[in-house]
Every structure is written in structure tokens, then in C-alpha cells.
Amino acid sequence: MNKSLSHADVKVGDTLPALTLPAIGRTTLALYAGASGDHNPIHIDIDFARRSRMPDVFAHGMLSAAYVARALTDWAPQRQLRSLALRFTGITHLGHRPTCSGRVTETFEAGGERRARVELRCANQYGEDKIVGEAVLALD
């Protein structure tokens, strides 16, 4: 469990502790398909993937999105999270090892509270971006 994030703790340029995940395997995708309810065969059925002109199955974008959210909630309790906006910029293939990172780009007042804007990134072990986005968190 993490302690709440106060405005005194956060300044522009601060980075979130990076979260590095194990390599994505077929088991990872099967478990995520079951747990998420996303049963799109492109992520779990190599025959379907090949018929769709992909060399193999590939990861759900929302799996990496869940990893990005983990990096955020490892940093600050979820109750402080106001918004999360993510763009999927590349496909995560089998064998990729995602690393999620973030950096505070702005602190501001909105909705009667102090908030921080955090730019987010999820990249593989080759430094190729798979997700870019941002979150807004309320500061205590």
C-alpha cells in the first residue's frame, strides 16, 4: 500500500518509479483474455491471427494500459486519480518486455483542488513506444 501524495511531495520534472514487466508470453495473453473478458481471437488464436495477415498473436493494448495504471497506483492511491488518457502507438508482440514510466509535467488548480499532470509511456526493451498518454491526479 502506498501513502497519499501531497502537493508538497510533487514538483514538475519528478518521475514515477518505472515498472518493468516480464516478457509477454502466450500464457500472459490467455490469462488477460479470460480476466478482462476481451476474447478477441487476434490475441489468443494464431490461426485467426495468420488469416488476418498478422505473423502471430499479439498483446491486448489494454493489458499494457493496465500496466500503466499499475505504475500510477504504485505511485499514488487510486482515489487521487482523476483521468487517464492513452494512445496505442505500437503493437506489443510476444517476447516484448514492457516498461511503464511517467513524469510530472505540470501542477495546477482545478475543481477546487491542486492537481498534477503526468505524462506516461509504455515502451518495450528496445525503447519502442507502445503507449503514450497522460494522467491527472489530485494532490492532498
Binding site: 473478458g37 487476434i42 488469416r51 487510486q78 487517464l84
Partner: protein
């Protein structure tokens, strides 16, 4: 193929019970090590009444409301050619195991890029709980490769 006439169309709506076993399975599948998301005692110690719904799981619950194939049929999109392009969440209040959440999804936008080679469909979902309180808004962008 989807076109602008779909904008405003309600794609699906319905209610979903948030089950704690499902939340534990999601925690396992995403490698979640924080016990707040799988251990009720840890969740209560952190001030939660029950296991909290993690930030991206609302999108998963939303997919329980309609079938992907029916949705793609309505949108006239082809499963083998689509990718998830963007996903956004605005959070208004927490959701927990034991809640019954209502989801209503409408087509918010349809547009093309690269002379029609890429077709984008944006869906907007309003999430409310069993007390009628506004929990979150989701915005999901799907892209279809037409080239």
C-alpha cells in the same frame, strides 16, 4: 463500413455486477502486487469498503454489456482489421466489488485519415452505479485498416 450517420447511435447499454473473484483474477492477470486489489483486509485497511475496481477494469466490465461481434456488426467493422487506437477515462467516484454498474455507450465520432485508408470510430460510455451516481466516462477509439 462505418460512416458519420452512426454518430449518436446507442451501441449498447446494460448493468454489470462487480464480482470480487473477477477483480482477483484481473489482479493476477496483470501481475498486480498491491494487496489492496486482491485482499479484502488490505483494501479495508486502505480505507476501501471492498476491493476497488482498478482504473482500466471499467473498460472490461463495459465489454460484458454487449457482444464485440454485435458491436462490430452495427459499426460495420471487420474484426481482423481493427486495432484499439486510444482509450481515455474520466473518474468521478470509486467503484467497488458488490456494486452494480450501468454502462451506456454511444458513437461519439466517425472519421477517416490518409484518404480513407484508416477509419476511426470513437465510442463514449457513461458509467453510473446502483445509487445513480456518476462513476466515470470512458472514451474508446477503434481504427480499421482499409488499405
Amino acid at each position: 463500413m462505418a460512416d458519420k450517420s452512426l454518430i449518436g447511435r446507442v451501441l449498447n447499454h446494460g448493468k454489470v455486477d462487480v464480482e470480487k473473484g473477477r477483480l482477483r483474477f484481473f489482479a493476477k492477470a496483470t501481475g498486480q502486487a498491491d494487496p489492496v486489489y486482491s485482499d479484502e483486509a488490505a483494501a479495508r485497511d486502505a480505507g476501501h469498503p471492498a476491493l476497488p475496481v482498478p482504473p482500466t477494469f471499467l473498460m472490461c466490465l463495459n465489454s460484458e454489456v454487449g457482444s464485440l461481434l454485435d458491436t462490430l456488426n452495427t459499426l460495420r467493422l471487420d474484426l481482423g482489421r481493427i486495432l484499439h487506437a486510444e482509450q481515455a477515462f474520466d473518474y468521478h467516484r470509486a467503484a467497488y466489488a458488490g456494486d452494480t454498474l450501468s454502462f451506456e455507450t454511444k458513437v461519439a465520432d466517425v472519421y477517416e485519415k490518409k484518404g480513407g485508408a484508416l477509419l476511426f470510430v470513437v465510442n463514449q460510455t457513461r458509467v453510473t452505479n446502483q445509487r445513480g451516481e456518476h462513476v466515470a466516462d470512458l472514451r474508446s477509439t477503434i481504427v480499421q485498416r482499409n488499405a
